[in-house]
């Protein structure tokens, strides 16, 4: 990759004393599906709105093919966008909605008609062109909105939590549609969501936003296996944290003591910590091994609850210091058979799946 297709350069947005976005920098490759993931108020939507031209950044720049976008008003940016709320024009039919961006560009009628047909085919809504938006379901409306946003072949498509108003089943269905359309059109997509599952399902890369800063950018597996901050670890996948004491650190790795007694060596360390300081040990429920026989390398815990979740069984446990630690095991796993509340068990994990986060 020589020059990046879309460059977000040190974007900062201040509203009076509040800083909504702090110096966000991302390079986006052409055809990439990049998701901004974060809780509400983390600056992900504001960044998207700056790309759309609805907000001006306090400083920073956005370059598309090396040229700044900021000098161009929204209606000349040629960017597509699907909004969180339903924004189809209620007085126009589905066909007229898709034709709208083409009409304002004064394309010839035959050209517009052909494009509208192609777009309806793309979102699999052939035969719906004469319906009014009010006669369509929420999912259908968002598919029409997608067709409208892609009708003028924008180089970049922005999507601002487009599925948040839909129920889970419909959401998954349209996620598949979005993936298919992305593969088919090869349009560059910037997608905003607070739903980690949605982000993992759709994206090539994910940028995790927290308090106006990008904590980490990477593929789903990268973020899961190697979270840069405690926030990322909490946001991607399930995780539990145990307070621990740092014994020694070397080259970004730490030896720690947990639950007073046990020492664990050579765990990846993130953030700042020195020997003697307090830190947090992150463990993934699905990476813990449960054993009913006492072992010196296992963490002694007591079973506090067992929940059947279909293909998984969730075992809630408590350490001797009263910290909660969950274990997820496949249904029918031999370690669970005959397991009861109050049983003493030992948990083991490999150092590769654990992380230590400094204060």
């Amino acid at each position: 990759m020589n020059r990046p297709f879309l460059q977000i350069r040190g974007i900062r947005k201040e509203y009076g004393p509040v800083t909504a976005v702090q110096d966000v920098t991302i390079d986006v490759a052409q055809g990439e599906f990049l998701t901004f993931l974060g809780p509400s108020g983390s600056g992900k939507s504001t960044t998207l709105y700056i790309l759309a031209g609805f907000e001006n950044p306090t400083r920073g720049d956005i370059l598309l093919n090396g040229e700044t976008l900021l000098a161009t008003p929204s209606h000349k940016r040629n960017i597509g966008m699907v909004f969180q709320r339903y924004t189809l024009f209620p007085h126009l039919s589905v066909g007229e909605n898709i034709a709208f961006p083409l009409k304002v560009r004064r394309l010839r009628k035959a050209e517009i008609d052909a494009k509208v047909r192609a777009m309806l085919k793309l979102v699999r809504l052939e035969g719906f062109e004469d319906r009014k938006p009010a006669q369509m379901s929420g999912g259908q409306q968002q598919r029409v909105a997608l067709a409208r946003a892609l009708a003028y072949d924008p180089p970049v498509l922005l999507m601002d939590e487009p599925l948040s108003a839909l129920d889970k089943k419909l959401r998954e269905e349209i996620q598949h549609e979005i993936r298919r359309i992305h593969q088919q059109t090869e349009v560059t997509i910037l997608y905003v969501t607070h739903d980690q599952e949605e982000a993992l399902r759709l994206s090539d890369r994910i940028a995790v936003f927290s308090k106006g800063v990008i904590d980490q950018i990477g593929t789903g597996p990268e973020l899961y296996a190697n979270p840069a901050t405690r926030f990322v670890a909490e946001f991607i996948g399930d995780s539990d944290f145990l307070p621990c004491d740092v014994v020694s650190t070397v080259n970004g790795r730490a030896d720690i003591a947990v639950c007073g007694s046990m020492t664990i060596s050579n765990i990846p360390l993130h953030g700042t910590a020195s020997s003697g300081s307090k830190a947090a040990l992150m463990l993934r429920p699905e990476r813990l091994l449960l054993s009913k026989t006492k072992s010196d390398i296992g963490l002694p815990v007591t079973v506090s609850d067992i929940t059947f979740l279909g293909n998984n069984v969730h075992v809630a446990t408590k350490t001797r210091k009263g910290n909660d630690l969950s274990v997820r095991l496949p249904f029918g796993h031999e370690a669970i058979s005959g397991l009861n509340r109050g049983d003493a068990v030992w948990l083991r994990f490999d150092a590769g799946s654990a992380h230590v986060f400094g204060q």
């Binding site: 031209g53 209606h75 709208f100 003028y152």
Partner: protein, 291 residues
Amino acid sequence: MVSQTETGSGRPNSPAQVRRLTDFDLTLPALGLLILFFVMPVAMLLTRSVTEPVPGLGNYAELLGSSTYLRIFANTFIVSSLVTLVSLLIGFPVAWALAIMPSRAASIVFAILLLSMWTNLLARTYAWMVLLQRTGVINKMLLGMGLIDTPLPLVNNLTGVTIGMTYIMLPFIILPLYGVIRKIDPAILQAAALCGANRWQSLVRVLLPLAMPGMAAGALMVFVMSLGYFVTPALLGGTSNMMLAELIAQFVQSLVNWGMGGAAALVLLVVTLALYAVQLRFFGTNRMGGR
């Protein structure tokens, strides 16, 4: 307490009692009042229009056959249309501004609008007379600035009536329009902008069509109210552009011709009802005020 009375009084919602409560006879007192004080006078006036001075449709023939009277009808329509048009042209930007203003600023503008509505109509009309007359504030200012050499004829003509009535009618356009524009999701206009629509295209292709119910409701209300308006045309208008209400007043008060007065009133009523029917046909009652 509540449960006690409910159990104590047995079953108040038995079918017989429910039917009694919706019974038609309960509305009779109000209905009687309406008939006595509203329908009766109108009916009597209309009866006189076909009985005085001689039975028949002579009054209507005279009213609709004479070029003098037809000119008054035409003038009534011209003034009403002009007032409606100017009110829309001024009212739309004001309603739009109100809708996007911070709520504190908007409530100040609303206070001004409502204060003007609550001020006595005659006082407001006389105020315009003072402003608009040959030696009035506006003419003096323009003369002083050297923009004109002779005072502009701003009162006792069509200009005066249009200015005075537009001022009075504006709130009736602004309030329903504001209601409709407030309900338009700003994201729809953002979507239009990203689709490539410039401000003008967004206005014409999106905003105006979506504001149409409010515009139609407001415009019709203003037009119908203008058709029968009396005070402002009488004070700010001239003899050459008399309106229908002034004609009715003249028939009844000066000429004591109840027959012609009644006939003119009926013509006005028929036109008003016809317009109301048009409104119902195209916009429906529930869309009044943009609901």
